[in-house]
């Protein structure tokens, strides 16, 4: 793997691989996540994806992608630490498997470059009809997270817990803000952010580095470069004295209980392992005890947001089990603090974590996500480095990592008044 500067504030990460049937490409801008611009950036990539000067509408883009043996190109918007990463990922059948020896690398990088630098325009501006339809679609999409109650609850927890912090800003912004974006504001934003934003390019496939760098350099030749908007460092906050609680009611049959915790530990490897033992793996205490042994919930797991120093617990429970489930979740954390675990729990968590890290190298999309996360956060982590760090964590460090965790916010989604009794 290599990373090189291709142009001013434009970097290319290149991973040679013959493992996959496809080559994987990405072009992402990494900028600080802010409430005022989150929706603008999300809307912008969706509008840009609608057409380029050369392929001005969906039918033309669809034809181009189909003719490239079903190449894929899609807009993406991600949250990485307190940065927003937006742009396009693309993939196509690797040149080795094409029936007539065609070369797809150059047409795909050209299309990526066109998306950024040469959008379909009308009177020198982004097209109004595209802005109108994508604005409506994006607002609908943001609202539709209500449909999946599990991710809805996780998102609501994050909003409540990190209110006032960039981390509490939704990945694609708020629907009501998106609806207020005018074409003029969008177009101005495009012209401001394009020259300033850090651009991270990525390739994983069988082509030689020189060919890849040459193809990207040509495709992005017209990218304006002036000013400099650097990704932000992620901030940390302590948990409040008193745990905060938010309860919402909806017409649902199963309750969702989410818990947000904060840690001030700088021992990232130990916290990763502690979280795997807590709720991050199938040997975890939440899974084995709260779900399997006590049958208090259908699912229970935890995630460690390592850039931000947050751990979130997510579970599905019967409404009436709220108090018991919450008490048991706390009890599992307590057990880790006290070093109350069996050898196999640690061993299992450690091998699961290492196996997960090693398997990332078997997926181009996982590699891209890791690389882009590092690029956005300015991190120096590597997969082998993380593996080594996790291998060296001692039980004492795990206890200390669990001891550094404090509850911050509880979010509970339950059925409407009266419905709870039916579900008992």
């Amino acid at each position: 793997m290599t990373r090189q500067m291709l142009m001013e504030n434009v970097y290319l990460t290149y991973i040679p691989s013959e493992k996959f049937k496809t080559s994987f490409f990405s072009a992402q801008m990494a900028v600080p996540l802010r409430a005022e611009t989150a929706g603008l950036n999300a809307l912008m990539v969706n509008v840009l994806s609608r057409g380029t000067a050369r392929c001005p509408d969906m039918a033309a883009i669809g034809r181009e992608l189909d003719m490239l043996y079903g190449a894929r190109l899609e807009p993406t918007v991600r949250k990485k630490g307190e940065n927003q990463l937006f742009g396009f990922v693309a993939s196509c059948v690797d040149d080795r498997f094409l029936p007539a020896g065609e070369r797809l690398l150059e047409p795909v990088t050209d299309l990526l470059g066109d998306m950024y630098c040469r959008p379909a325009a009308d009177g020198g501006r982004l097209r109004e009809d595209y802005a109108d339809s994508e604005r409506e679609n994006l607002a609908d999409l943001i609202r539709s997270d209500l449909n999946d109650k599990r991710s809805y609850a996780a998102r609501r927890l994050m909003e409540e817990m990190c209110a006032g912090e960039p981390y509490g800003v939704r990945r694609m912004g708020r629907a009501e803000d998106v609806e207020r974006i005018s074409l003029r504001a969008l177009d101005e934003h495009y012209r401001t952010i394009l020259p300033q934003g850090r651009l991270e390019l990525f390739y994983c496939g069988s082509a030689a580095r020189e060919r890849v760098a040459g193809a990207f350099a040509r495709a992005f030749e017209g990218l304006p470069r002036r000013g400099r908007l650097e990704p932000a460092a992620t901030t940390r906050r302590p948990a409040p004295e008193q745990v905060r609680l938010t309860v919402e009611e909806m017409d649902v049959t199963q309750g969702k209980l989410c818990l947000g915790l904060r840690t001030d530990s700088a021992d990232m490897a130990a916290t990763m392992l502690m979280n795997a033992m807590f709720g991050g793996a199938s040997t975890s205490k939440l899974f084995m005890n709260v779900r399997e042994k006590l049958s208090l919930c259908y699912y229970a797991g935890s995630a460690y947001h390592r850039q931000k120093g947050i751990i979130t617990v997510s579970s599905g429970i019967e409404f009436a089990n709220y108090d018991r489930a919450l008490a048991e979740i706390y009890a599992q954390l307590e057990a880790l603090r006290d070093g109350d675990w069996e050898e196999w729990e640690l061993q299992g968590a450690r091998s699961s974590l290492c196996s997960g890290l090693r398997s990332m190298e078997d997926s181009a999309a996982s590699l891209e996500d890791f690389v882009m996360g590092q690029a956005a956060a300015g991190g120096e982590e590597t997969i082998p480095g993380l593996l080594e760090a996790v291998r060296q964590v001692t039980p004492e460090r795990i206890r200390a990592a669990a001891g550094a965790v404090r509850p911050d916010t509880v979010y509970f989604l339950r059925g409407r008044e009266g419905q709870a009794h039916e579900a008992l």
Partner: protein, 423 residues
């Protein structure tokens, strides 16, 4: 073991049928760290009525899925723990026709494989453990019942089919699973978890001979009799009902339209039919199709519109749906476009474009070990070699796709399921 080379795909496969009837398939991936074992039985949510020891048996809806959950219990305890100690991820799923158990790991592969083969082949149920599972599965059922994507699909299947068990959800209902006892579970295990009704597919940097030898050592020496199943009487292409509606906590209306298709044939014809069906879907409503791009540009649909062709035992259907403000309008447009394509034919340039894209899509799916294992398993149970898809693909022409649209995608064979936001 027999070795098969697929130069067009860059794939190498080893196969052997053991004396007990188990098919062992090893797909070689020498440069990957991940190793994957997939152990499947031809037994799924639709296999509710079957003949065992000369008697026809009717079993409660959801039993295959229930059995899948219970297989993780062993006399020594829960098998998850043993695998997890080795850092292995394991899971299982039950579909309409298949129950599969799989393990994914980067180390101690053969040890993990041994555990997988043992726990799936040795049943151990007690009244107490079966009772406890009722609560867990009831919760799982309640959770999916809150999921509008699942609801809209389950409601559609109930509309499309009158007699076929395709209309019954794989997990059953909170009521039906109450009728499951340790004895019914033992009976179903005995009937369907026999080596001759199963396949083992391993993907990764794996020694084929060692894998086959291990399966021979761990699994029963005898295969087991073939078990006849009853999927209800042939019910034709007309749906049982035309429309179903429900209100739920959703942000905008959601719909799924279904078109009942001719039931699939077996063998390689089935692979061919699935390629034709998928291409017909791409031509009719795929992302680059004229209908999709027009409706998207008019704001009638958004990026959520999608669907596919699906084949079940004795049943096949096309489904298409998504979020839309006016589901009826999308449905009418789909019907009109299918009629046009059937009557006027598919544009040659569009066909060539879709054809390339479909081929690329099949190649792409081989990046996923799980996709490989599922496709190999389906192929084996249904009598075709999935890796022959490049050859089969070449035998498909534009007329096949047009005939598929004409014969299947008409309002006569259609039903629509809607979910509306709560008032």
């Amino acid at each position: 073991m027999r070795r098969f080379e697929y130069p067009r795909l860059g794939e190498r496969v080893f196969r052997k049928k053991l004396d007990n009837g188990l098919e062992v398939v090893v797909v070689s991936k020498p440069s990957h760290a991940k190793r994957y074992a997939f152990f499947a039985t031809r037994y799924g949510g639709m296999d509710l009525r079957f003949r065992l020891d000369g008697q026809w048996q009717d079993t409660p809806a959801g039993i295959a899925h229930y059995l899948e959950h219970k297989m993780f219990d062993t006399q020594e305890g829960n098998v998850l723990q043993e695998l997890a100690k080795n850092g292995a991820h394991d899971n299982a799923f039950t579909s309409s026709a298949v129950t599969a158990y799989y393990v994914e790991c980067t180390e101690k592969f053969y040890e993990n494989l041994r555990i997988l083969l043992s726990f799936v082949s040795v049943p151990y149920f007690t009244q107490e453990s079966v009772d406890k599972e009722q609560g867990i599965i009831a919760q799982e059922i309640r959770m999916i019942e809150d999921d509008p994507d699942w609801r809209v699909y389950a409601n559609l299947m109930e509309c499309l089919y009158r007699d076929s068990p395709a209309r019954i959800p794989v997990a059953g209902s909170v009521e039906s699973i109450r009728r499951i006892t340790p004895q019914t579970l033992y009976d179903c295990h005995k009937a369907f978890y026999t080596p001759s009704n199963m396949v083992l597919v391993c993907v990764g940097d794996i020694d084929p001979e060692r894998t086959a030898a291990l399966a021979e050592e761990v699994l029963p020496k005898e295969g087991g009799p073939a078990v006849p199943r009853d999927y209800g009487r042939e019910e034709g292409q007309r749906p049982g009902a035309r429309e179903v509606r429900m209100a739920m906590e959703v942000s905008m209306p959601m719909f799924l339209a279904g078109y009942k298709c001719r039931p699939p044939e077996g063998g390689e014809a089935m692979l061919r039919q699935s390629i034709i069906g998928d291409m017909a879907c791409d031509v009719l409503f795929g992302d680059s199709s004229p209908l999709y791009t027009r409706l998207y540009e008019q704001g009638v649909i958004n990026g959520s519109l999608g669907g596919n062709f699906d084949m079940l035992p004795g049943a096949a259907y096309v489904y298409v749906g998504g979020d839309a403000k006016e589901p009826e309008r999308v449905f009418a447009e789909l019907n009109a476009q299918a009629r046009r394509l059937g009557e006027e034919g598919v544009d040659e340039a569009l066909y060539q474009q879709i054809r390339r894209s479909a081929y690329g899509g099949m190649l792409r799916s081989l990046n996923s070990f799980e996709n490989i294992a599922v496709s190999m398993t389906e192929g084996y149970f249904r009598g075709f070699d999935y890796y022959r898809f490049p050859e089969v693909f070449e035998s498909v022409g534009k007329a096949d796709v047009e005939a598929f649209l004409r014969e299947n995608i008409t309002p006569d064979y259609a039903a629509i399921s809607r979910i509306d936001p709560l008032a």
